[in-house]
Symmetry: C2
Subunit: 410 residues, 2 copies
């Protein structure tokens, strides 16, 4: 039975495997870790729901890896993007709405004075690091072990020896290890260009970690003493933790902020924002990409920023996420599990304290997928403004069944 | 009068300059070199025509830096992209049409066995170079001076000393200098990962250069002896020189081919294609980007590949470009100028033999812009399938007037 449920996904995969390395982008489907539990191909989506290639429907908590914040196919966002696309998306030069969006972002993201647009989130983080190097005249970048800043060679998991020079000047500390961070600054004194962090720590395969209350004050003190910059990579968290940027939630004061994903509800757009002191480096930098000036994602972003507020914004996602966390943890507890939901309420991730190897986690997510809930077993989840209270209640109800079933297996 | 013509462009620029470094992406508007001649912002576009922020209409020969091949707002392409966007663009995983497009490209681009999708053209060239390094176990990349392979630090014009390590293993030869190329291979013997070239040479500010008939045979011989790969960066030329890839036009045999731009008529999509021998490196590489699996640009690409053929394909662009070249050169000659159109017929660029400093070129392009023809003074042009014979004739007619006017000024 389970085999038939993904018959078309598998047929497409077999075709794709002939002409695409890996047949699909390997890490994108939890189906590779949990065969028979998740689809490989998705056909369509609407609101909080995705429909796979075989017609199976899931309440989705991956949200296009965080990109969907006002719901798949949000009518206001789609209307704005498509209208701009029909009148001209990629032109030789930007359309005037680039100025509208730049003004909007600079006035919204606290502490930022300017912005430039790009396409991938990685474009923004890579540009941030390059500008920090040019601004400071130094090379070393300090980041947290297991943090995700994109798929460029300086930060990706492609640890081939031939690519080692690309990441030679990147130094890693254990997240929240303040002494380790201080030690890195000592070791690289006079050579540190910047620290780059995500607002909270969301490594794959591990519980999420909130910043130690002393982390950002320490980063600030060390950067000031070293004359280094602080880059906030807000690509995954952005617009779910605080309307003015996730750094505000945690009292951090970055020099550069990267956003993407939820910015335009998944229309391809990234932005790098910065303070006045970094502007001369940005002015002197050749920043370009054929698709970076395209208007449709910018129109979608303007509509998305409005929709976020109209639909209840951070407060509503916080409330939905809190209900999900409390419901899941309590249902787990009742069945005898220490199921713990880590991370900010709107960006939850469940692990079992008794199972660091994620076996129970995979069992749980697989059984939830059987019931039509898309919960990624090794990547954090996202709540969106398209989730309803009824979605959350149904998710908790299904989880209760699954926990009881799992409890019977022990 | 000329000042008023771009009043809104200038007003938007003044706003943008406060919040965007450079106020616009600097190199994107020829207006920075020729004040008062070109707009800074474009409002809309249709077919072969763009309308700027002030309502001025231009017959456009920049085509979104080569992206527009079947015309701005091509109905079939827009329909396919928008329909896919409305049903779900960025999903957690690809839609089945990724397999359709992969099969289509692999069967179309000659000699290629697999493909992966990305967003920016730079994503494809950077991935190509990384895979070549991983495949060969070597680091050195050989490229041509003045060639454009994207805006990543390894290949961009950001020559800041702090970024020098990013381009440390890139060695440059003078285009078509076969002895210089051989010398580079000798100097780096045992360390060359790949040669990367554009099908023809299109440096900014210079006449374009077609490949010496011995260039590709020499590249092939040297790469074979060194066990290095040959990467064809077909991003700018792609689909205008040969329907199966520009390498076929010139008899080149690349191991990796990069395409983007015209692939989806400007919808954001890039693809890297490769031969079977490079597949194991691609299989082992973590290739990802949040937006890379999005379906709308893939649907647009499938429609665009059909439209290209339906509208007459390479043959028609070749004919239009030949008429433009012959018309411009003959009109120039009649007025006493050695105006020469270089490059392939569908990717023309005009310079004056008597004026290597481009003063006459700027004068010419500025006067053409006054008359409603968008010809970039320092970047090659593009013919598209949306250009009509009447567009070409009107362009030549206007050029005739301009040459006569310029002749009177001497």
């Amino acid at each position: 039975m389970a085999a038939d449920r993904f018959a078309r996904s598998k047929a497409v995969f077999e075709r794709a495997a002939r002409v695409i390395p890996g047949g699909i982008y390997g890490t994108k489907s939890p189906g590779f870790l949990l065969p028979g539990k998740f689809p490989y191909y998705i056909e369509s989506a609407s609101g909080s729901r995705i429909t796979d290639a075989d017609g199976n429907v899931f309440v989705d908590y991956l949200c296009g890896f965080g990109s969907q914040i006002v719901g798949y196919g949000n009518p206001a966002v789609e209307r704005a993007g498509s209208e701009r696309s029909a009148r001209g998306d990629l032109l030789n030069q930007p359309s005037p709405l680039m100025a509208d969006l730049a003004e909007r972002l600079v006035s919204r993201i606290r502490g930022m004075d300017w912005t430039v647009f790009a396409k991938n989130g990685t474009d923004a983080t890579t540009l941030a690091v390059s500008l920090a190097r040019v601004h400071t005249g130094k090379r070393v970048v300090i980041a947290a072990e297991g943090a995700y800043h994109g798929a460029a060679n300086w930060c990706s998991s492609n640890l081939f020896p031939e690519l080692a020079p690309d990441r030679a000047d990147v130094a890693l500390f254990r997240y929240n290890d303040l002494e380790g961070l201080e030690a890195l600054f000592r070791r690289h004194r006079g050579n540190v260009a910047c620290v780059i962090l995500t607002p909270h720590h969301h490594p794959a395969f591990r519980p999420q970690v909130l910043p130690d209350p002393e982390l950002y004050p320490t980063v600030r003190r060390l950067c000031q003493a070293e004359d280094a910059l602080f880059v906030m990579d807000d690509i995954r968290d952005g617009f779910r933790l605080h309307p003015e940027g996730s750094h505000v939630r945690f009292g951090a004061e970055p020099d550069l902020v990267c956003v993407a994903k939820a910015l335009a509800n998944g229309w391809p757009l990234a932005a790098l924002l910065g303070t006045g002191r970094v502007r001369s480096a940005a002015d002197s930098f050749f920043i370009t990409g054929t698709y970076w000036m395209s208007g449709a994602p910018m129109a979608a972003a303007l509509a998305c920023l409005d929709e976020m507020e109209r639909m209840g914004g951070v407060g509503r996602m916080e409330a939905l996420g809190t209900a999900l966390r409390e419901g899941l943890e309590s249902a787990g507890r009742e069945a005898g599990f220490s199921a713990r939901v880590s991370g900010p309420a709107a960006i939850p991730y469940l692990t079992f304290d008794e199972d660091p190897d994620l076996y129970l986690n995979q069992r749980f997510c697989g059984a939830m997928a059987d019931r039509g809930f898309f919960l990624h077993p090794h990547h954090n989840w996202f709540v969106s403004l398209a989730h309803s209270e009824a979605d959350i209640a149904a998710t908790v109800e299904a989880a209760r069944e699954v926990f009881v079933e799992m409890s019977g297996e022990r």
